[in-house]
């Protein structure tokens, strides 16, 4: 059995977590050298196959060296612009995914990095660079070719402003650090749970499970050890509100975890931070240190004998699926992020098999405010089934992308009016795994009972090609499927193939029918939310914007699945032939 990860003395980051050790190796050698794997496995007392499996599961670990400058362009429809990637590839004479012969640079794409309100963005050696444009890329090319170390690049290129455009219930409510904990201790754990229950708070990650019930179930589960885990693996394309909450409201996030620990009797908590947000780590560690100094974490918190709780941060390494709570727990346990069979649920069998609460960043922030202001204060906003407010990440074709906090029940149109997205033809609500809606549905309300969203609002203006958007999402899911179950592992690449075929003008009505049939099997029969939702954008497109697909279809019975002439290219070269018989149309 694995034991709980030892925390290092320096910070409370678990420095001997497999993901962290692999990150160190990747940074040091630009890849994971094969000869480093057996000693690492021995040292961490893990099977060598487990280390190998983890290396190949997470996108940010590589078997062969990346460039000393490794640039990963987001391929998200909001914070990605792959034409810029092509431009940089041309100026630096690099092919995507292939390290330049001198080892100086490599360029590739990566799934959404959560910078959707910051313009086109990339990760360079794990650091965020935003507001990319052709001029900036010219400057980057110059620095790369000059061999300028990353630390000497202009610091302002790495700035990530918050862009809070419309604060609401939570973001307007200034709190003193520890106010929530003090109030909770005064009330007692039972009353804290009652207060959360009264507030009607539901999970902000998207699924909307009742928070007080989750805490209560965990508290009631028979065990001596319980855990609190904050899910900060915000990977849904178009979502970046947790990044802002962690950047500016981290204290409230950690306090929310501590409140949960108080309610359920946990001694340790983990914040699982997506690898793309590694740049937030120093700020988060500093906040933890402040909270320890203020006795808001550690032993006998706020002089309560036996109230011991501390938090470690574990940083992911490029795997969207780890946002699924049981996959996150697997990842915390130093394994591939494969969603578990449920039941049992994490509240009874979570981290290391112990009862565990896994809550979204925003849920924990809300809990902190509720502990201070009370359940009634929270419930006063929102709808009957969706109490309180929702922090939205708004991006895409709108004048002012950024963070908007609105009460639940606000219509999509109100959000569009606020962000300058009035000429939208469609909005993807809740990210690719959510719902694609057209103008006829802009009056619908953002709420669990109507349009549910974990916070992603992607606006698509009239000039957008919605099939290109859906194609982007189908590539995203095929890239991020964990590979556990048949419908998703095989279905997502097949779906990608059909969408590519149609988008490239080679699809037929038969292909569209086949695609829809496959989509339904995946939606209903997949193991977890990823496979169950991967086909949603496509099914929504077919239902709400049928012409977008049908307009591209060839009016013929059948069309090959691959380019026949291209399939002869290699043998044409090898035989030096270019006669008519050496081609197929």
């Amino acid at each position: 059995m694995q034991t709980e990860l030892r925390s290092s003395l320096a910070g409370n980051q678990c420095s001997d977590h497999l993901l962290h050790r692999l990150h160190d190796l990747q940074s040091r050698f630009q890849h994971i050298p094969a000869q480093e794997i057996p000693p690492l496995a021995t040292e961490l007392q893990l099977p060598i196959s487990q280390v190998e499996a983890v290396i190949d599961f997470y996108s940010f670990f590589h078997r062969s060296p990346r460039g000393r400058i490794d640039l990963l362009f987001s391929n998200c429809t909001s914070c990605g612009d792959l034409s810029l990637m092509q431009q940089l590839c041309t100026s630096l004479d690099v092919s995507p995914g292939i390290t330049r012969a001198d080892g100086a640079v490599s360029i590739d794409e990566t799934s959404c990095i959560g910078m959707c309100d910051q313009g086109a963005s990339l990760l360079v050696n794990g650091r965020i660079m935003t507001r990319l444009n052709p001029q900036r890329l010219q400057q980057i090319a110059g620095l790369v070719n000059a061999g300028t170390p990353l630390d000497a690049w202009p610091a302002e290129w790495f700035a990530v402003p918050d862009h809070v455009r419309h604060p609401g219930l939570l973001l307007n409510d200034a709190l003193q650090p520890g106010a929530g904990l003090r109030a909770a201790i005064q009330r007692g754990a039972e009353n804290l749970l009652a207060e959360i229950n009264q507030s009607g708070l539901r999970g902000r990650g998207g699924a909307g499970f009742n928070t007080s019930l989750k805490w209560q179930l965990c508290r009631d589960a028979p065990a001596t050890t319980r855990y609190v885990v904050c899910n900060a693996d915000e990977g849904e394309p178009g979502t970046f509100k947790d990044r802002v909450l962690l950047n500016t409201y981290a204290q409230q996030v950690f306090e929310g975890m501590t409140l949960c620990a108080y309610a359920i009797g946990a001694k340790h908590g983990y914040l699982y931070l997506r690898g793309e947000y590694r740049y937030l780590l120093p700020t988060l560690e500093a906040t933890l240190a402040e909270q320890r100094a203020a006795n808001l974490l550690g032993e006998n918190i706020l002089q309560q004998p036996g109230f011991n709780f501390d938090i470690s941060i574990v940083v992911g390494a490029g795997a969207y699926i780890c946002g699924e709570e049981s996959a996150l727990l697997e990842s915390l346990e130093q394994k591939r992020g494969v969603p578990r069979v449920r039941p049992p649920f994490p509240v009874t069998h979570g981290y290391l098999g112990q009862p565990t609460v896994v809550d979204n960043v925003e849920t924990l922030v809300a809990a902190t405010h509720i502990a201070v202001q009370g359940g009634q204060w929270f419930k006063a906003q929102g709808t009957e089934k969706s109490a309180g407010s929702k922090v939205l990440s708004v991006s895409g074709d709108c004048a002012t992308p950024g963070i908007y906090e609105f009460p639940f029940g606000t219509s999509l149109q109100q959000v569009l009016d606020a962000c300058g997205g009035q000429d939208a033809q469609a909005v993807q609500v809740g990210g690719p795994s959510g719902t694609l809606v057209g103008q006829a549905e802009f009056g619908r309300k953002l709420a669990f009972e109507d349009l549910a969203t974990g916070g992603s609002i992607m606006v698509y203006g009239a000039q957008r090609d919605l099939l290109a958007v859906v194609r982007n999402f189908s590539h995203f899911f095929a890239h991020e499927s964990c590979g556990f179950c048949t419908p998703c592992r095989v279905g997502t690449p097949l779906l990608r193939k059909y969408v590519d075929k149609i988008a490239s003008g080679h699809g037929t009505p038969y292909d569209q029918e086949e695609m829809a049939r496959l989509a339904k099997v995946m939606k209903r029969r997949s193991h977890c939310g990823l496979g169950q939702t991967a086909a949603n954008p496509l099914l929504d497109l077919l239902e709400r914007f049928p012409h977008v697909c049908t307009d591209r279809l060839l009016h013929q019975d059948y069309e090959p699945f691959f380019n026949l002439d291209a399939a002869l290219a290699t043998t044409r070269t090898l035989t030096h032939r270019d006669d008519a018989e050496a081609h197929l149309s």
Partner: protein, 245 residues
């Protein structure tokens, strides 16, 4: 209705606390198609061939605990069509060229194809390039045929008391690996008598020097359909402690 019964396609069957739908069905002699499940090994739920509808909701029979009064749809034309599609997906994902495989006739994937009346792979094939490992003196590992069911992974850990196999990678790149420094099967402690060497439902793990011993017409699924053979002779395995080394 007595306590602890559920209904599969309308037939009332008993179950004991802790049993899954699959456990209860097998005990009652009802066949629910499956590939990644073997009684005695911990249930896995990855192949999804045991997909059933429970009170209208989709579930894996091998992992969902049975509960009182459950209405389970199993042997329906719609579900068997879904299962046929899943079988086709497994076929096109790997390199399942039956005429070239010595497991042919004894292969559960193939037998399920027959069971569902599958005539073709239907989807465009992936033709992945996967490594063959012939380094072990008596066991062959041909990843072309691996369906990632993890039966060998679990058999090695739970029955053999070893940890020879694991799944590595992600998504369509997921692949079976061997828990040795070289990654080669020949350097592992796998022995011919281990359950992990025999449990493969397809031709990915084969015992060397024993191919094509049984003539066509006499092989397992020449004589029985997958439904009969599975229900009639379930493999009873002894579960041991998890061994992590």
């Amino acid at each position: 209705m007595t306590n602890n019964t559920l209904f599969i396609d309308g037939q009332e069957i008993p179950f004991e606390a802790g049993q899954t739908i699959m456990d209860a069905a097998l005990a009652a002699g009802i066949y629910i198609p499956h590939l990644c499940h073997k009684p005695g090994l911990s249930p896995h739920g990855s192949c999804k061939l045991c997909t059933v509808d429970v009170d209208g909701r989709s579930a894996s029979a091998c992992t969902l605990p049975a509960s009182n009064g459950m209405q389970v749809d199993n042997n329906t034309p719609a579900l068997n069509e879904v299962r046929k599609t899943l079988t086709q997906m497994l076929f096109v994902e790997g390199n399942h060229l039956c005429p070239t495989c010595s497991k042919s006739g004894d292969c559960t994937l193939q037998a399920l194809g027959y069971h569902f009346g599958m005539l073709d792979g239907h989807f465009p094939p992936f033709y992945p390039r996967r490594e063959v490992d012939a380094s072990h003196p008596s066991v062959m590992l041909d990843r072309d045929r691996c369906i990632l069911c993890e039966l060998c992974v679990r058999a090695s850990r739970e029955v053999d008391g070893k940890n020879v196999f694991a799944i590595s990678g992600r998504g369509a790149q997921s692949h079976l690996i061997v828990n040795t420094v070289s990654g080669k099967l020949g350097d592992s402690d796998l022995q011919t008598g281990d359950m992990a060497a025999h449990i493969c439902p397809v031709g990915a793990i084969l015992i060397k020097d024993h191919g094509y011993e049984v003539p066509i017409g006499m092989r397992t699924f020449d004589l029985h359909s997958v439904a009969e053979s599975d229900v009639a002779s379930p493999v009873t395995l002894k579960k041991t402690e998890h061994h992590d080394a």
